[in-house]
Symmetry: D2
């Protein structure tokens, strides 16, 4: 099984970076990732300030991985076989001017910023020790995973049609992620594993850990999708990322409804009406430059009425 371990990481997703691993459709690989702070926070005295974590060195990405069969207009299918945490602790923090309940670079205000705080959380027996009394079950997910956009180079902090920093707990073991392919080779990047994360990732930071991600990579030829999709045992899901949340939600649902129409034989407005009764929504995060919403349709209702 091929393994990707690298010493230098990327802060943009772009096809201009040199592939570090080349794989064929059907292969299973292991990718080592470091945490979103680049391993620079080791104790609670290491505060997440701009001098320690320069703005252009947030969220380091492993990759790019070049997939031989991948061409523009195909879909990349990633089975998440396993995510193994590679540390005895996770890091969470208050990063001033980052998070859902603070002024940020995007919602500029005259109030004083929050002060930085670092919290180191030991991980043992599948439990994260958040505090003396509070233990959170480990539930690892890949925070950032995406392909190179067609012509742009996009910061690893930003989610979009290419995937990227979606911070979605459904990108977890046993689930399948499907990404659009914009360039020959696809150029897959990943990083930013969280040992656990709540909906919205409201403080801006999960339980950040290094990890080993085992992924089975596949390509569906000539399957054009506009935005990422996820499948679990119980749901088909679409991902929309934009600002405000309203527009992220609209993207996710438009994609979900067109998917139901195209591949599951629903009438478009019937799908719209049915979603209104049975869909689930996850607010994945409301902290990154764009926000991410997951629209979920229960597989048990996947039989059209026509």
């Amino acid at each position: 099984m091929k393994r990707l371990r690298q010493s230098k990481y990327h802060y943009t997703l772009s096809a201009s970076h040199k592939p570090l691993l080349r794989v064929n459709a059907g292969e299973t690989i292991v990718v080592e990732t470091i945490d979103a702070f680049g391993g620079r926070i080791k104790t609670e005295k290491d505060l997440p300030t701009p001098d320690r974590i320069p703005l252009d060195q947030v969220n380091p990405q492993s990759g790019p991985i070049y997939i031989e069969e991948a061409e523009k207009g195909d879909a990349l299918v990633i089975d998440i076989v396993d995510i193994v945490i590679n540390s005895k602790y996770g890091v969470t923090a208050i990063v001033p001017d980052f998070g859902g309940l603070t002024r940020t670079d995007y919602t500029r205000l005259l109030n004083d910023p929050l002060l930085p705080i670092t919290r180191i959380c030991p991980i043992k027996n599948n439990l994260i020790q958040f505090s003396n009394q509070i233990f959170i079950p480990v539930n690892p997910m890949i925070g950032t995973i995406g392909v190179a956009p067609e012509s742009e180079a996009i910061k690893s902090l930003t989610p979009g049609p290419h995937g990227g920093n979606m911070d979605c707990p459904d990108v977890c073991k046993s689930n399948k992620l499907m990404l659009p392919i914009f360039t020959k080779g696809a150029f897959l990047f990943l990083g930013d594993v969280h040992a656990a994360q709540g909906d919205g990732e409201i403080s801006g930071v999960g339980i950040e850990v290094p990890a080993e991600c085992t992924l089975k990579i596949d390509v569906i030829k000539e399957k054009f999708i506009d935005w990422p999709r996820i499948e679990s045992n119980n749901y088909i899901m679409t991902v929309g990322s934009y600002r405000p949340l309203d527009d992220a939600l609209r993207i996710a649902f438009a994609e979900l409804i067109f998917w139901l129409e195209k591949e599951y034989n629903f009438d478009r407005l019937e799908a719209y009406q049915l979603c209104s009764q049975v869909a689930k929504i996850r607010v994945a995060q409301m902290v990154d430059p764009f926000y991410t919403i997951i629209a979920k349709f229960p597989k048990k209702f996947l039989s059209s009425s026509s």
Copy 2:
């Protein structure tokens, strides 16, 4: 047990309406509600157009119910004992210029409106027949429930600090709703029961039904809350309603964090960081004049670290 049945309904929540039922704290009552279309849609030929459903006659409310002990600054506690659907069918519809994926009166565009559609869904054996093949489990909830605001009269279509049209599936049997009280007597209104509803209520319409709601009413004296709260077996929840979704979400989480700080002994920023790992979010609806978000904190983590 007192029962409220009325022939004329209200389209605003206001203390200027005459109480139709007076109850004491501790009483359990039954309130009959009609559906959000006021029973005006009976067949699939009855389309939800402005001539059939005038804009000022949407979402009829039962009440007001006057609670003797209630005074400004107290909290109203409503145990939802039961919700019994009072019809053999439910109604859902495409209402032109209403819903999450269409131009509306609030997001005015030059695209043509969607065309109206009515769908009548038979309800039998706790199943809603959405189409020939698709059956949805009955899961009744009270779409609109709220008190009179202090000085305003607010449309029954609009949610806010007073509750109102929150369209939240957690306002269901066995859960407890807590509302701020702004005026002597509280003036409780309710209506708009849905036999089922997905997150976001994306088409703008659930499975609309008339119902009988059994509620145990209580008052906590001198307990000032700013926004509605909900409790289930597993979660404490706060409700935020505004536009865009971002600001509704911020309200819900600020309320949740202050609740954790005030009543559960958390440090404020500790609560913020913990929510980032364990909170759940429900997008209740993104279709009403304000949107509604529920921030949920799992009760199992309700023990502070200090």
Copy 3:
């Protein structure tokens, strides 16, 4: 000339308040207004804190004025004949949790609030003395003016289709304001005069003054408009109020384009394209519960191409 002077003011716009003046279409009247702080701030030591300015006593309104001919579906036309400032100074302030660049009750954050500041600005010779060196020309405008909504009672702090707290510098001497009429008698309210105000009213407060407003009142029968309109010598203007600004802007432009189509013989999409080349936009305010945008069309282009 009839004059309205009153001792008790209103904090909601509603047809449930007793008319204090009855006028006929065509009459010119003088209305005395007090400042938005209700005259409670007289020195720079009087800070705008909730104990001094209770939340339910912000923005006192004179009126209601009952217009005899006014009926639902008519339009109310108000010629602003004059606005005379009734004080030797104006008040501006930093109100904590209010304003465009701070956390507010609508954008709830964990940052600390701004501290309250009061600034008293002497007014002399048509100049407002903002500081030792800075003098601002007096340019009075009526910040809040509106009619009773059909069934609601709306806080005087909130703008909407009924007008209300639009905080628009174009509501000034020599301009004409047109409001929809929702109820018999119209029930006109006004207050909140500013001696001067910038676009956006970014700190949330203009140069707040008491004033005497001379208004010529008229009614156009059976002229249904959805939102307020303003006319100056050079522009026809429409007003949209909502959140976020995007949706306020869409309302204003949809109203402007439909106006051009209906009354000035433009094709709808031609008007859309022409607005893209010649329209002006004013952000009236981004601080009230809803934000207000003015879309302006230069009168010199008021001749359709067809």
Copy 4:
């Protein structure tokens, strides 16, 4: 005087493109630009559909121009000496799924798209003939002008801290634009000249023309600015681009207030309060992937009170 004429244009702003012109600080140059449709629309039968105007070939940029003295942390100063229109007509259009009053790729809805329309407007004697009766004065502006971001490659359709597609009528003859410099050489790009444009560019399209832009290029060493600035005879201006408009406006005003504090000796909150009385706001555009707001401070008030 150096002149830049090129045959191949760029659709991203990035330092990875090869400089086509190298200039020294202090030089004046002429840059030839083609119109935003790449000259592909010549008659009213040439509709702006995706087959004619592929999504990745919208808004072609001239450049990059390498400025020898420019280094990260400096400011680039561009005096707009002249903008000469290089065509006898301008093009405007309805582009389906693009514009402020339609569903778009960012506000995904189920309503049908608008239909494409092309309008060719002859330009003669400094007048644009919009229709038989309507003539619009020529008022040329550079719609897109920006530098390379530090690590990203950003689509020419998107505005940001680097400038880019701001679509701001204040980027016109005699005004001065200041841009942050993120990379050695700055890498200046420009294009998208409009013969005229209204506030908001509401249909998404101005009067699009090819042009010759005469620019005097300068560098201020070690002057770090976060966002673009503009100066005219009467105003200092800051540019904020994001979504929703609210956040673009907050960026522009935070930048303006910090500018007043840092360079004009104002106290921060004094500047905030003064802006509330005298600032002007231009909504440059509400149609691109991010929206652009200009906050303007009148130079006549540029003397602090301290």
